[in-house]
Symmetry: C4
Subunit: 280 residues, 4 copies
């Protein structure tokens, strides 16, 4: 796992080097303080967007919300500029996943000057928490999400086959229900019937549309029992892959001391400190 | 796994052989172009059927939808005739699974001349995508669906026992709720009560019918907790079978070089190329 | 697995022995014909009960339904009398599980002479299908249900702990929602709130009662995410037990020839025919 | 597992020792009688709280409910005082988990003298059943819940990552639906939209709010299929951890006689009686 440090090639000395240490790393007191301030700013600004959408609160505190939004946006803009300034290769940062999120976190406020309503897109700031996830060295959590990610990645083909199969069932059942129930019972078109089929197959069951003819109810019952049965399939897929990912992680052995039981994402042996990849 | 090629006995030379290569195979540029054209035609025609069912779009673009439907149907009819013409044994093709789907994909348009409404059955064209699935040599996806298929086939008896059990519960609970709640609370007959029981047991819960008497609510609670518990059963069944199918695939060893780890659907060893079945 | 034969001690000769062979066994042509007639009688009579409950059909065919009900009931009564007559130890049969179901299958018709409505209890006849299950020697299906049964039995304590935990959550959340939402939003009492909590926790979600205050919605969200998480628990329990039951069945070895891979419910080795329990 | 006995340091002799034996232990006839009386008092008092909340019953039996509540509360208060009196170190008891529950079980009645409505908080008495759980020496049930607890504890990080991921999806989808559907279709604010997103993602689906625009329905379909897929993740996590906890329990071997197959919570070998931890 290459660290963020290597990706952006930090400058070796001077103001830029000190700024880099504060903004991108968390090993110095100043860096930690910066991260905590960032965490608070993100949470406050997302909360402000959520609460601003409540009509009664908007009527009362509109000025406060706007002030907060602009203060946080300006702070994030300054932070974004500093990040570009202090990394060795700005391009790498700007087009990295986290760099794009940093940009998307400030754009909507400026856009809202021209297009009203876009300020609600600011909730994308919640994705900035991903940055803290990495910076705070929440290593074990990152490892756990890697095990989950590995299992989901390994099951991608089985899950694709499964979803294509589900969608074919949805198209065919949707067309049948449109013919059986018809627009007078709420099945106004095949796409609407497909929406109903997905609502039923996933066992959500809003009840905004529901079958009313005996034949429609019988077909719905068949679809529900089918849905009940096939919910077992993705569960089975993910469980088997998770079990294999766990076994693989357990079987990992240190090439130096020979001891096993390391986390699958560990780079170094937890007993002797030697590199687990054998390239150290 | 016998290939489609062997099933239909392609002609060895002449126009039929060239047509066969284009229509049934994807190894030549012409064959690939044909497959892509087929993919687009299928998606466009299914989309047209879906959108035609939307009242506002039908009012506006009725002519366009009809034109599209007839153009695609004529193309598919020509394709169907050519397929019959160029295979060595037309009977094998006509009564094969894919051959029947090819026929069903063109019939509803002709039927709609006599029976209005049948054009919505054209969504069956979505099944024609199965053909592309095979032709495009999406080998790994086919393998994955075989692992899923093997696991589901191996669990067929357990699942049958399970569904028979569920249906018995549904009949008995349905009759009890009909007696307890009665027609005045929406449980107008035992079949309707059974529909409600299935809606509840599968956790869909439309809410079009729901218990209103205290005793009915108590019975519904018991049924819901039961449904919550027994949803674990099919999941457990499929997971165990999937784990076994995966283990079996991993344990498969080449009789020539002795190496394992082959896909369960592989015919040849990926290391030495020898036949895995040992019959090569 | 002791057979039904041993339980009821069939008479050795005479009319009773011949009747026993026809009614309790399926190895002779007459026995098979009896079983098929029984299957048809059960399905027809259950179907008649279901359809009689539909108001429009009852109005039209009331006479036919009553005739059918009485014909089937008389046939079942004669069958019940014959069963008692031909078994060696009538008490064993009368108080056996299947014997009680046979009695319950005829009682409601006679009761309906005094208590109207009880004829709907006739759906209990659906349980008579269990008898056919055994008689038809659907051995593999019985074995599969035994594997399921073993797994569920082995998980009974974990599932009990789980359900007690769920019920405690339901009582406490139900009381909280009653305080938060109150009767004016449909939460008319704590038992009603508990009904809502079960509907929510099991992800059924009828929508007949749903939270309307912000605090109630927040608590409902917490409950839903909790329910989403804990649905994993029974699934995990059953899967682990099913995997162990499967492994156990695979590990079973014949004491005579030493070969394994027998069904967990097999009494004899499928390779050499020797008794698997080693007591043969 | 340290026993409750060691925690509270029971007095060695005198009245306090005899009281301790009756109240905290269940090995003498008096102790067992006390436990059964406690069980009945808890169930009766919780049932009284539940039924008192039903308007029709409250109107009719208000006096009876109040009498019951005060009688049980006084009994529990005396019991609480005696418990403090007879343990060696009252502080240990008062601040233990069970001690706090014992206090919470009597407080609401006294509070209801000043704050009406608080008597419904008495349902917390249901937690007092935990005490019986331990006292009744339901050892195997405690062991089973420890296996469940171990599995859930081992999966805490994977589940945290999973829930954080789900919440991020909920915030972003909630904001999008607020923009797409708007207040006129019931999505009155982003928090309300988030409530809808959780109702949908967990497949509860009340139907109190449901998408009405085509774009909203399409997004809802994507969310439902996503929810259908990710319900597999916690299930997979818990199953794998449960399987490991089970394997671990099976692998546990006695250091004295070497035999395995002990329950994970066993302190002593069930064959030779030696301490399993090897410290005995």
């Amino acid at each position: 796992m290459a660290s963020e440090r290597d990706l952006y090639q930090p400058p070796q000395e001077g103001l830029r080097a000190r700024l880099y240490e504060i903004i991108f790393e968390a090993s110095t007191p100043a860096g930690k303080a910066f991260d905590i301030a960032l965490l608070i700013a993100i949470l406050v600004s997302v909360l402000a967007v959520l609460l601003e959408s409540v009509a009664s609160l908007r009527a009362q505190y509109l000025g406060l919300f706007h002030l907060l939004e602009w203060v946080v946006t300006l702070l994030f803009t300054i932070e974004y500029a500093l990040r570009i300034y202090c990394v060795g290769q700005p391009k790498h940062y700007i087009f990295s996943f986290l760099g794009i999120i940093d940009l998307l976190a400030i754009l909507p406020t400026y856009l809202s000057l021209f297009l009203p309503g876009t300020q609600y897109l600011l909730v994308i700031r919640v994705l900035r928490l991903l940055r803290l996830f990495r910076i705070f060295k929440l290593v074990r959590y990152v490892q756990e999400s890697q095990v989950l990610g590995t299992a989901l990645y390994a099951s991608r083909r089985k899950i694709t086959v499964f979803i294509l199969g589900v969608l074919s069932v949805v198209v065919i059942i949707g067309a049948l229900m449109y013919l059986i129930e018809g627009p007078e019972h709420g099945y106004t078109s095949i796409p609407t019937s497909m929406y109903w089929a997905i609502v039923t197959l996933t066992t959500v069951g809003y009840g905004d549309i529901s079958p009313e003819t005996p034949l429609g109810k019988a077909l719905a019952c068949a679809l529900m029992i089918l849905g009940y049965g096939i919910i077992a399939v993705p569960t089975g897929i993910v469980t088997v892959e998770l079990a294999q990912a766990s076994r693989h992680a357990e079987a990992l052995r240190c090439p130096h001391c020979g001891r096993g039981g390391h986390e699958s994402a560990a780079d170094y042996c937890k007993y002797c400190g030697g590199g687990l990849s054998g390239e150290d």
